[in-house]
Symmetry: C2
Subunit: 479 residues, 2 copies
């Protein structure tokens, strides 16, 4: 990610500049540049400054306690372990801190116990053979533990724990002390680790906490918004009627590579206790599913954006013929995503998104009719129609994808007990209705991605429309 | 990645099973399952076993030296630091180990010096105010250092160094010892860290080394191969004439999320000395560029693969009409990628890939002709043509992408001084020729992605063909 970020502060440039000793004005310019870049990093996410202060606070606290207590002669060994723990355990999010803290605590306990056992076992063999036995034990356990870090499930959640296990076991078993001294040392060291870890966890959770779960939630909502903005603006951009800011055209690109971020956030969220709107055991895995479909949608958008680059090309006649349904498809699918994002953001069940999906399908129907007509008329500029048809085909793929996203969010709203939307009637011109007007979107034959659009509207007064939808579906399947 | 890997050994399942105490046969079955999964991890990449043994060897060596030397009373403090260094510094690849080792060494040196300075400075204020001054200094420096970890350039290469800087500075400045004792301690500790780090680096580089650079090179070649296999097989699959193994249809999916792997490998490769076929300062950044285009190509393939899922659909008449150019486009672009992958693998300049790109363009020409003819004839099943046209449009996008890949590999072959291909004539029916028959592929107006195909064939006897190509280009641009 960093490699493609050209606005990152260029320390190297600064150093090179200082070395070659160019004119003072250039040095001044570079320093101002560097400072403004630093400022941008802070302004982008002010929580970064708070995090830095939190870490500094934790380390100062831990070290001062050991420094000030008169019964410690200087820091001693124990204080060192507390500082070491804070430095390596304190992470940006609460979940990451908890994960590292727990891993460190349990691994130290387990490895300490095994280490003492190994030491006692080694002592049975007398002083000459003992080092060989211990060396063999260390070799075998370290090799096994290192290999276990390649097992995906262990790597995901316990990688740091295994590292600490290797460290503690090696330290304890080859320490060369007698068992009673080891136990005393281990006891003291374990207490300081607990103290350091607890300081981290308390500061991380109580002083402006950064929750991985909340970040994951916002991340998914933001990504949905980025895709929505692109799709809402695509029609106007394609028909060159748009003006003003065009940043929405490239914002979606960050979604393409969001997998790693989402997985690590979900992983850390697993360790977190309930916070804000999120209970303990919130269905974080479902967020990953939504993420997969969001990325799939972004891949299609990447293909779509290729057709925007044709800057020299004039809008063809055929393109104008299908303008209305094409713009409608794009803007309605954008609205669907925006609605889904909003309902996720407010943690309410998605409601009006169903209306937009219906509109999408109506637009596809219109497109079919228009295509049939226009293809019958035009024949000379047949090659002109190809990119336009490709665009509509990709838009249909995107509608498919958005349906999957909608399905996944519907599932999430059930699992996480999202609220019913408060004000349903405002959207439908005050028309009262007794039932929630949701959509249960299910593939007809259970999981076959092929079925383009199959929507069962759960509302009695919708039956005529349902018939229309089935008809429209048949037509669409011809596509 | 792990979340989607269902074949990962299910420790949790094993534990759950042991807890619920089901029938012994089920436990046995689960254990066998677990063991076979472990075996798979080892068989997938046997270097993992070797790595585990290397780590174990390094730790055993370091700890034994301290344990056996009679003049150390037990391990003492110093030995502990050597073990700690080995545990945290020894990474899978040589580059990662070097990166961590160097970071650790320099950060310890810098932080130690600053820490001694801070301690001396604090002593000026007398024993009452000293802790406050030191606390303030630690707070400020730790906050600044923690914040610097958010700067992309620092995060990329020096993240671990900053961590160690924070640790060492805090430890030294609040240790409470007198300066002369600190210097002695720092000296001893620094030597053990150097010893631990050197052990890691030597074992990592001399015993079956795993080079990040070589891995990156192979990774890119493998990815090109995966895309090539898909495209070579796509035509047959689309026209349902393929048989046998279909794993090539999903292999490309791993390319979609390859960004993080590639960037971290390139980052580690930067630290590595020359090895095998790679000199020091090999243009690793160019690999990232190839990676970007490869992923772009994979996004288009993802869109393409959607049209394969239509299992119930019969092959339409129109589909059969364009079968020949369509299959040709797909197989030729696949061959181009395979050739490019092969030439990268052998580190020779790409040669025959140009021929395949030409064939691609001929196939596009054929497609144009066929389309013009068939569109004039057919009119009833106009809707049938849409997915077929979409497929060809995506194939054309893929050809664009592959040209960019070819360009990037051409650039790499210059930067890295790839060899000239040895046996050029074998490919062209023994026809001798004096010049390398390569292609310099450049966008006409320098960087405008819009130009579909612009190839200048650098060969005198190719001029007539060049004319044809220009004509074909004009036609293609109509698309």
């Amino acid at each position: 990610m960093a490699m493609e970020n050209d606005s990152s502060p260029s320390l190297t440039t600064l150093f090179t500049c200082l070395k070659t000793a160019t004119s003072p004005s250039k040095i001044k310019h570079d320093i101002v540049d560097f400072a403004s870049n630093i400022k941008n990093i802070a302004v982008d996410d002010p929580r970064r400054i708070i995090h830095s202060l939190k870490v500094a606070l934790a380390i100062t606290l831990v070290s001062m306690i050991y420094y000030l207590q008169p019964f410690y002669d200087g820091m001693g060994d124990a204080g060192m372990w507390a500082i070491l723990t804070v430095v390596v355990v304190f992470e940006y999010t609460v979940g990451a801190t908890l994960s590292k803290g727990m891993n460190r605590g349990f691994a130290t306990l387990l490895a300490g116990a095994l280490g003492v056992g190994a030491e006692s076992f080694g002592s049975l063999f007398g002083p000459t053979i003992k080092p060989i036995v211990l060396g063999l034990l260390v070799f075998l356990l370290v090799a096994a533990a290192t290999f276990s870090r390649f097992i995906p499930n262990i790597k995901k959640k316990y990688d740091y724990g295994v590292l600490i296990f290797i460290l503690t076991f090696s330290l304890v078993s080859v320490s060369g002390y007698r068992v009673d001294k080891i136990i005393k040392l281990a006891h003291q060291r374990f207490l300081t680790i607990i103290f350091g870890g607890a300081t981290c966890v308390v500061i991380s959770m109580c002083v402006f906490p950064v929750w991985a779960g909340e970040d994951l939630h916002k991340h998914i909502v933001t990504n949905l918004g980025k895709l929505a903005s692109f799709l809402e603006g695509f029609g106007e951009e394609y028909y060159r009627v748009s003006k003003g800011d065009k940043s929405f055209l490239s914002a979606y690109k960050s979604v393409l590579n969001s997998k790693v971020t989402e997985e690590s956030l979900a992983n850390f969220a697993w360790w977190e206790i309930g916070h804000g709107k999120f209970r303990f055991n919130h269905p974080w895995k479902q967020y990953l599913k939504i993420g997969v479909y969001t990325r799939q949608c972004a891949y299609h958008i990447e293909a779509l954006s290729g057709y925007l680059d044709a800057k020299n090309e004039v809008t063809s006649e055929f393109q104008i013929t299908v303008q209305e349904p094409c713009m409608k498809m794009s803007s309605e699918v954008g609205k669907t995503l925006k609605e889904l994002g909003n309902s996720m953001n407010l943690m309410t069940q998605p409601s009006t998104s169903a209306v937009h999906i219906e509109n999408c399908k109506k637009a596809i129907d219109d497109l079919n009719v228009t295509l049939k007509k226009s293809m019958a008329v035009e024949r000379d500029n047949i090659l002109e129609t190809i990119p336009v048809i490709a665009v509509t085909s990709i838009l249909i793929d995107i509608i498919k994808c958005v349906e999957k996203i909608s399905e996944a969010i519907e599932e999430l709203s059930k699992q996480a007990h999202f609220k019913e939307p408060k004000d349903m009637t405002s959207d439908e011109a005050g028309k009262p209705h007794s039932r929630r007007r949701g959509v249960a979107i299910k593939p007809v034959d259970g999981g076959n991605d092929q079925e383009l659009i199959t929507i069962k509207v759960i509302s009695d007064d919708e039956i005529p429309q349902k018939m229309d939808l089935d008809k429209s579906k048949r037509e669409i399947n011809q596509l």
